[in-house]
Point group: C2
Chain length 301, copies 2
């Protein structure tokens, strides 16, 4: 089964369209965890230990709700945090979650091959990774090929969720009168078709920001066989209604990321009451926020 | 002094416009080194050890010729190679070389901040890193700000050296009638101007592929205050004449990458005779190829 079909299957099984994102920083940790780091004589070692503990608890507490987890590499690239990234990914895999490595890598072909070997090898705990399209076909080909070989997938940045995404991505192309991100969508369609394997959704997915619902609606029509990874719900401002346009008529074909909305639930309104002194019990807040997000999106479909 | 002035100063001191690139794979290693890995009972451990040895010897052998070294992260992202990346960068720093971390990172702002802290912190052995512009201003801002705070720089991908770079980068924009990479150049100019500090070259550089000399010539005129990092010379096909257009009238403002041309010199034509059995003595071939490349480019200016 290809990587996107696997993801759709897990979405059906859980009836949940949320991918729980992990973007951990010391600042977002519950106070009792921050305290452990502050009082340690080896802060780097303690930070790595505490961040890993937080990630594992976070994954455990929602592992029976969500189909997938997305771990953002950026938050694990300090020297002492690098091993934590794959440790956490492996833990999520061991709980039968679909694991997305949010890496946003790309380079010229010979170099992309090295990225592919590092992250999409058979022994790696990632079902899919995110990649950047700026280099064009020869830059992404080794990543796509290695992914397909190992029944894995990629999500190519098409339209990102941030405010400045328009600066390059929305520039209108002279020849086609379409914005740049639409040209990228066209490339993603071609890349996907080139490795299509008979399943409705091919192994080449797209990152489509929830903060631009009109663009997403167009892209859903244009990219029929492309699985969407949808960031921007919650903390970045997009609502369930905004993200609903990314799904097909069966309520599949997309997965919505929530990172800060789940990680920081313990700080927020109605979830606060489940949390004890110094943030103890934050897991319950995360769990409830996750169940609410699941329902919020399912109700909007 | 800002990071690009430092680089220009080192170029003047060495009268060399080559940045020696490190993209090491097992396949390019001299046979005697490959043999160590093949015969080891712990191949991953041995590979890390041998790759680090190769990188250190490579850096040592050219450290009195070149002003700078560029280390590509992709070749160090396997789990057991990750620590080698910073080890090698620190070694190059200790030899007083300018160190470029070829990372090509970018994400939305809050995530780019994490990348910035991981790679551009004061304690990190990188004078500059490469970044990807696809997210626009808010995605690159934290990287640029952190770089400037620590007297470091960034090189933003503008026009890449690979064949498929045209697919997105050369699309002509409706409004401006300029290609996408020219819009990116415009953004890079703005980003650079926003952190300009009175030096002619500001801390925001550009990656401009040597394989498109006409584009580079235009960009040199358009991006007067931008330092260029120029890949594509040698193995990718660009000649010294092709890269000459990237320099200003003082022969500064650009640095030309050579990776495979130096790493694999021991396999090639006239350099072969300096190499013993099983590739022993490859360092001498690298050194001579580096001196030739230096002269080749200086003669073309």
């Amino acid at each position: 089964m290809n990587a996107m079909e696997t993801l759709n299957k897990k979405i059906k099984e859980t009836d949940c369209r949320i991918v729980a994102g992990l973007d951990p920083t010391v600042e977002i940790l519950p106070v009792y965890m921050q305290g452990k780091i502050a009082s340690s004589s080896d802060k780097a070692w303690e930070e790595a230990k505490v961040i890993e503990e937080f990630c594992r608890d976070y994954i455990w507490t929602i592992s029976d709700i969500v189909p997938a987890i997305k771990i953002n590499s950026a938050f694990f690239e300090k020297e002492y945090l690098q091993p934590v990234f794959r440790n956490v990914a492996r833990y999520a895999k061991s709980l039968n979650l679909y694991v997305i490595g949010d890496l946003k890598r790309a380079d010229i072909g010979s170099t992309s091959k090295a990225y592919a070997e590092a992250w999409l090898g058979e022994d790696q705990p990632f079902d899919a990774i995110t990649i950047n399209p700026y280099f064009g076909t020869d830059g992404v080909k080794p990543l796509i090929e290695t992914a397909v070989e190992n029944e894995k997938g990629v999500f190519v940045l098409v339209k990102t969720s941030n405010d400045s995404s328009a600066e390059i991505q929305d520039q209108v192309i002279f020849e086609s009168r379409n914005p740049v991100y639409h040209e990228v969508a066209h490339l993603v369609n071609m890349w996907g078709a080139s490795v299509s394997d008979g399943y409705y959704y091919n192994p080449v997915g797209a990152v489509v920001g929830a903060t631009h619902p009109k663009d997403a609606e167009l892209l859903r029509t244009y990219m029929k066989n492309t699985m969407f990874l949808v960031p921007g719900y919650g903390a970045q401002g997009a609502t369930a209604k905004d993200v609903a346009v990314n799904f097909d008529q069966n309520g599949l074909g997309a997965i919505v990321n929530s990172s800060r909305g789940l990680m920081c639930a313990y700080k927020k309104g109605k979830y606060k009451e489940f949390v004890g002194q110094f943030g103890k019990g934050w897991e319950e807040a995360t769990r409830l926020a996750c169940l609410d997000a699941k329902e919020d999106i399912n109700n909007a479909l």
